[in-house]
Symmetry: D2
Subunit: 276 residues, 4 copies
């Protein structure tokens, strides 16, 4: 499917600095980027699974970024009804680093907690479905309840947060069960209020399967921007120097028609795997 996505961002540079933006989808058909003032010469580059824009800001002033793209959203359905046991030694070595604990996903501290809640479930897809259902049921979606310092270790007990916190907790719980998991920053269809969104992927039987414990947007309406270990790797904007965010306006529409929204439920056996 094709989606039209856009991000209008305004920053105020109080001094010279650098702005690193992570807003371009991974699969773009066409795109336009306007930067005001036009004197800013950005550089774009890949860093792992991020398509970054680096904007050196040489003097104080307001910076307006207007980005539009037509992007592809492609995925497969994977049937996990007969998923057999998994083994570390049969995993693709490139995914093993997604078992490591990271800044916001301290899976190393959650081994017993996770084992008690989910250790008895055999099918790993069902395990991750149970994890997202547990988060959805126990964690309250509450804007402003957390900060950029909040991590899965906080959210598991404080039980309030936003999409970023839901994703971090899902990732941490998966890793604690030896399921590789990574963070996804996305444009999301039908998200209310419209904004950037975060969800996560778990490595199941050779596929990165998408999950979203917030259930705020359909799983088949994401346009992926970047993937990484957690939000530390996939920040929408990294600000070096005194550059202050002023406003954000994000949109994501289907190019034509509407989509039939897909969500998982307890008992779901079919997963969605986005094509990279």
């Amino acid at each position: 499917m094709e989606f039209n996505v856009s991000a209008d961002l305004v920053y105020n540079a109080e001094e010279a600095g650098t702005l690193v933006l992570n807003i371009r989808p991974l699969k773009v058909i066409k795109e336009t980027l306007l930067i005001d003032p036009r004197t800013i010469n950005y550089v774009d580059y890949f860093s792992d699974m991020n398509r970054l824009l680096m904007l050196p800001v040489s003097e104080p002033g307001e910076i307006r970024i207007s980005y539009n793209a037509t992007a592809l959203n492609e995925f497969n359905y994977v049937d996990f009804s007969n998923l057999g046991p998994s083994s570390i030694s049969q995993m693709d070595p490139s995914v093993l680093l997604y078992l490591n604990p990271s800044r916001y996903c301290q899976s190393d501290k959650l081994l017993r907690f996770t084992m008690h809640l989910f250790g008895h479930i055999e099918n790993e897809f069902e395990k991750v479905i149970s994890i997202t259902e547990w988060i959805y049921t126990n964690v309250e979606y509450l804007s402003g309840s957390t900060t950029s310092g909040t991590s899965a270790y906080d959210t598991i007990t404080e039980q309030a947060g936003v999409c970023r916190d839901f994703a971090h907790l899902g990732i941490a719980l998966c890793r604690a069960l030896d399921i590789p998991a990574r963070y996804c920053s996305v444009y999301a269809y039908n998200l209310e209020p419209a904004d950037f969104h975060a969800c996560f992927e778990a490595w199941l039987s050779g596929h990165w399967i998408i999950f979203d414990a917030t259930k705020l947007a359909p799983l088949n309406g994401f346009v992926k921007i970047s993937m990484g270990r957690d939000a530390a790797d996939t920040s929408i904007a990294n600000l070096f120097g005194k550059i202050i965010p002023q406003s954000t306006n994000i949109n994501s529409y289907k190019s034509q028609g509407v989509i039939e929204p897909v969500f998982y439920y307890p008992g779901s056996t079919i997963g969605l795997s986005y094509i990279e």
Copy 2:
């Protein structure tokens, strides 16, 4: 009932300092205290619900403390089968401070967690029984798994600890449900291996009711040493200056005969309340 309790403690003072011991039961019939070297003149005093011994150590050397006491253990049984709803405004004001979060019992961070697990239970005695059962089932008793810095906030997710950690978690969960709770340092009958022990009390319907989520020793075999907000208030020994613990030998026996051990179980409706 009468119990004979004893504590043989050895410290090595590498320099002058002060040793504050908190080993005397609250209800003593008779006691003996030997301190070697005899030149140490201790002072004893009350501080809230602690009977402290302050030993100024004027020079380096080994310090041997040998304490024996015959102590009373007196309690009532309280029937909670028809316990009605409780209200903050009807509580004795003196217990309200036991609702405050403390160093090792960060109840303020556990409100949602606690509400999700125990909020639906109406009878408050049943609530605390459920809390101790949840701790007993989910937290592994594992010597050496925690340090003096470990708090309830750690234990709730890491799910391993010793008696002190079990008590801290019980207290934190009670306070998060608006049930006043305090830490008890005790001599425990039949504890294996023999050592000082920790449990907690919850304020229910006008009584301090004893609970022990470790289930390692009978509830009716405790000789109370001190009560406080948490282990920070009730340390067996506070060491000021370089005074290093060398060895500890603790015992607790019934003066005559044996006791019929009492434990709570899911469904218990009778609580034990120690007489102060």
Copy 3:
């Protein structure tokens, strides 16, 4: 000196509950308290060094509290220029509990940090002056930078906070140096913007000496409301049930004339000790 202090507080009770207020000065000459609706029958009581008002709220609705008092502010000056070494064993036992770590003052984790920065200073008054100067220099006073969960352990590294955080850090650093310290909730003269304020007291040579690392208000212009281990003990309002703060309006004026403001500076040798 006499001060006129007032607190106008508005809450919205979404359901029945209990409101425990801690707004009455410890040394009141006269006072008036208006509660609207008048059907709320409050109870007042002492809890340690807090003069609490307990208001049972039986039904939903807005609650307006209007409190005015004429209060005494009395203190002595203590000269510490020749302060000799202090010893735990010569302290009044009743102050030893203010050496214990507490919810927001984890002094047990700061022993080496404190020793490295302040261990070389011999005069204990000078030590605490150095602590407050260090906090004043290194921690940024930044409204909104912290939450009710922020503790001294956070502030020592994150180095931003409000009066409460400054006080917690001062207390934690004192206790780590074996200096008893406690939290003070006060009305403050000349505080901009007017609000409740927090500072701390350290036990030096038999006196509770007042300190304020924010330097936002004169040390001789405080009207003490309550003292305790930290903010957990001295909350202006404890809200049980869904009672939501709406607005706060605090004032503190000298009854007649103005005061000559007193602050400490590096090199100060005279401390202020409030008379209880």
Copy 4:
């Protein structure tokens, strides 16, 4: 230079599982690996800057690994005496991810702390020298004082730790100053007692420069095993299933002759950069 390094490791598998070892130097001339029992067929693979061995363990029992290698240690000296100011926008994009906070290096929480201590230093090499000197002076090297959960955020205040903690703190402080930094796991010449060692690299003027705040081993005697964001990425052994470490015996010798040990000191202007 050539070094002979060896690692003899014994594990006890209580059940089937997988052992992932990260013990092979990055620049090996020749090597031998003996695994007992011989039925274990390992797979070796690269994952970023790690040369991993994956050993699937199919049944319980003791596993003995005996690894020997002749490895190269090659480095350049880089003169930083005239180092000009650095700019994010001129950095190689591939190093920017080493500015992100990670599991054990929460640089995002240390911005003010770091700015206060090191912000005034202009030359970035001098900055990192100052960071390592500060760590060396303030943090006590104390075996057993920390656990696998300890992070830079703990060490900065608790000020005790082992090589891993020293490296984590160095990395976190660099990143907080916008200097990319990464963790190095190494064999170290002349380390007492012999063991695996950890240090860190900072990205300065286009070079990864090696630093070691422990000063326990010469900077020119390292044989690099792996680099990563922190210890989470570079674990010597990742154990999946109940596989328990039994013993470790590590050695590192120069193939011929001895080395003239190199350390940095306050005022040093020449850095070492290992050739990858």
